[in-house]
């Protein structure tokens, strides 16, 4: 690579003199990024610009129903000094963590079994079944759980056969929210984990066992480090969207399963954009922190000794 770069830099020009290597190198670099230009334009217009606007709104002043371009920290002060917003944020974080843990706890064994024990012939139909729920709208899928989990729902009838009644927290409470979120995000985790496990060389596990490792140790020291990027990706794909959820808590959470997204929704419902933007920025900040923390886990180089 270096040799060819030098060759380029020192290449003779038409009159025999050296070509200006800097311009050639810059042009070459620019042409590499040209293909990225449409994506950059889309990103800039539909993501970066709205994010900038949201951040600006969070530092502007709300006056009744209007927002004024007067810079202030008051919105942040108000949010951090009001206990309910901090409490709801913390509650959202642990509910999200719980839902993410539950999702991975169910998705990992499924993906492991699918990758290791199911023949290729049956893998595709089973994966197809995992994504079939996406054919139904999100709203319908969540609403269906209000029927299943309700007092007169299918679950109540099933428990009734055994003389049991449905606990009050089956619906309109936090466990219901965590349960439904786990159901909704299972496909994301399952597909991501399967993709990671499918590439794993299972013979390494057998080799580890042959060398005296227990099954658990083999999984922990041989397999998990290699699929760590896949697990991290699955965590990101599940944790981040759940953090901003508001529809599922509204439909199945009742008054106890409220998440921070619901409070943002309340702000925007009454055109209180400054405060809503402030909380949205804080949620985005948590996401960025998460991605920075997990960034190292996504690097594959050290796994292969590079």
């Amino acid at each position: 690579m270096e040799a060819s770069a030098t060759h380029l830099i020192n290449a003779p020009g038409p009159a025999g003199g050296a070509v200006k290597g800097t311009r050639l190198g810059a042009l070459s670099r620019l042409s590499q990024y040209l293909g990225f230009a449409p994506a950059a334009a889309l990103y800039g217009v539909f993501f970066a610009a709205p994010m900038v606007i949201i951040v600006m709104y969070s530092f502007w002043t709300q006056n009744g129903y209007s927002i004024e371009a007067r810079w202030t920290f008051e919105n942040y002060q108000s949010i951090f000094s009001t206990a309910v917003y901090v409490d709801t944020f913390l509650t959202t974080l642990w509910m999200t963590a719980a839902a993410t843990f539950a999702t991975l706890a169910i998705a990992f064994p499924f993906a492991y079994w699918l990758a290791r024990y199911v023949s290729r012939r049956w893998q595709r139909p089973l994966l197809f079944l995992v994504i079939v729920p996406f054919w139904v709208s999100y709203l319908l899928r969540v609403t269906s759980w209000t029927i299943i989990l309700g007092n007169n729902g299918g679950l109540a009838h099933l428990l009734g056969i055994f003389g049991l009644s449905t606990p009050s927290w089956f619906l309109y409470d936090r466990p219901a929210v965590i349960f439904v979120l786990t159901y909704l995000y299972f496909p994301y985790a399952a597909l991501t984990l399967f993709a990671a496990l499918e590439r794993f060389d299972w013979r390494q596990l057998r080799a580890a066992r042959d060398l005296g490792a227990t099954q658990t140790r083999a999984l922990r020291t041989v397999m998990l480090p290699q699929i760590r990027p896949g697990v991290t990706t699955a965590v990101i794909f599940v944790f981040i969207p759940i953090l901003g959820e508001y529809l599922t808590p509204q439909l199945v959470g009742g008054t106890r399963g409220v998440m921070i997204g619901n409070l943002v929704d309340n702000f925007f419902e009454e055109a209180q954009f400054a405060q809503g933007a402030t909380v949205a920025v804080l949620i985005a900040a948590v996401v960025v922190i998460l991605l920075v923390v997990f960034r190292r886990s996504l690097e594959v180089g050290e796994m292969y000794g590079r």
């Binding site: 709300q62 009744g64 129903y65 209007s66 009001t82 309910v84 917003y85 409490d87 709801t88 509650t91 959202t92 309700g150 007092n151 007169n152 009050s168 309109y172 509204q250 439909l251 009742g254 008054t255 106890r256 409220v258 998440m259 409070l263 309340n266 702000f267 925007f268 419902e269 009454e270 055109a271 209180q272 405060q275």
Partner: protein
């Protein structure tokens, strides 16, 4: 020849001028008629119970040349912002009660002579005499419909009948109250429960009392649903026992196969709404009357009433509803009693909307 005599040339000249004038008048009249039916597309910011997209709007387009593109709004606050920031994009905007004069104060809407609208003859006279919809320039909006909220309750479980908002504090009704998620209205009802004079414009002290009431009442809340259908379902399957909802909820629960539900008016009062269509400042002001005359006809109301069960201000439509066998339902929603529209505390913009949301979030946050 005598100078005072009209010559043949004079007569012919006068006749030609006259015919020319008549022809010109006819052409101007035709041009005026043509411009009133010139195809035009206007944007209307409204709610889905204000129009029928399948038959009514196409018929209006055919009759008047006005094609309406409705944009659905959610609540008055965000609709106001949308109307204001869109810079005359919307020719017609729907709004509730005291929001109408607010639009006018903000120089977004235009008053008009409602009595000159032929279709206004079909309205109840009470709807043409709403004091806060009057201005020196005319009426501020064309009245559409109204409702007031009631405490609807299942008498099998809730007895005695509620007479006060304090029923929400009764521990035996824990987790049995369901309501639509309308933060401002819920806080306003809490304000009524604690004696606020103007529940939609409470002072800081009144808001504090309302918050305390709501905090104490929170255990009664089973769920805050996004739509009326959620309330109806909860009452029909008896997951919830009572609610605060629009007139006619008892009929809807019955239609959903639910039990008998009764209505109660708490002694502290209830909130309500009346909505209307406003003529917005913009390039299509001259087509507003034409649209309203077509849109407001009584024959369009029965299908909308059948779907949404709301009391319109159109008296001629009530007669159609009676003829079509919907008298009981119409009476259940108070259709023929438009004066009832003004008996409730009506929705309007708050001076401090952020404070209302803060109160709501502090009670219903995690």
């Amino acid at each position: 020849m005598d100078r005072n005599m009209i010559t043949r040339r004079d007569a012919l000249r006068a006749g030609a001028v006259g015919v020319g004038a008549l022809a010109m008048a006819g052409r101007v009249g035709t041009a005026a008629a043509a411009s009133m039916n010139t195809p035009v597309t206007i944007n209307m910011l409204t709610w889905n119970d204000h129009y029928d997209p399948t038959k009514q709007l196409p018929a209006i387009a055919k009759e008047t040349g006005i094609t309406v593109h409705p944009t659905l709004g959610s609540d008055d606050g965000t609709m106001f912002i949308k109307a204001k920031e869109s810079h005359q994009e919307f020719a017609i905007v729907s709004a509730d009660a005291l929001w109408v004069p607010y639009y006018y104060e903000q120089k977004l809407s235009v008053p008009f002579d409602i009595q000159s609208f032929p279709v206004s003859k079909q309205l109840y006279s009470a709807s043409l005499d709403v004091s806060f919809w009057k201005s020196s320039g005319g009426y501020l909006a064309y009245p559409r419909a109204w409702s007031a909220l009631r405490i609807y309750y299942n008498p099998k479980y809730v007895n005695p009948a509620p007479t006060s908002w304090e029923v929400l504090l009764d521990p035996k009704y824990k987790g049995k109250f369901v309501r639509e998620n309308q933060p401002t209205d819920i806080v306003a009802e809490a304000g009524l429960a604690t004696g606020a004079k103007d529940p939609y414009n409470m002072t800081a002290q009144e808001l504090s009392k309302a918050q305390q009431f709501l905090q104490a009442a929170k255990p009664a809340f089973l769920d805050l649903v996004s739509q009326n259908t959620g309330v109806v379902t909860a009452l029909a399957n008896e997951t919830a026992w009572f609610t605060s909802e629009n007139l006619g909820t008892d009929i809807r629960v019955k239609k959903a196969g639910g039990p008998l539900i009764k209505a109660a008016i708490p002694k502290e009062g209830v909130v309500g709404w009346l909505d209307a269509e406003m003529k917005m400042i913009g390039p299509y002001e001259d087509r507003f009357e034409q649209f309203i005359n077509a849109w407001g006809q009584a024959n369009w109301i029965p299908p909308l009433f059948k779907e949404f069960e709301e009391a319109w201000f159109n008296e001629a439509a009530y007669k159609l509803l009676v003829n079509q066998g919907m008298k009981d339902l119409a009476d259940a929603v108070g259709y023929n009693n438009p004066e009832g529209a003004l008996s409730a505390h009506l929705k309007g913009p708050q001076k401090n909307p952020g404070a209302y949301i803060d109160v709501f979030n502090q009670v219903f946050g995690a």
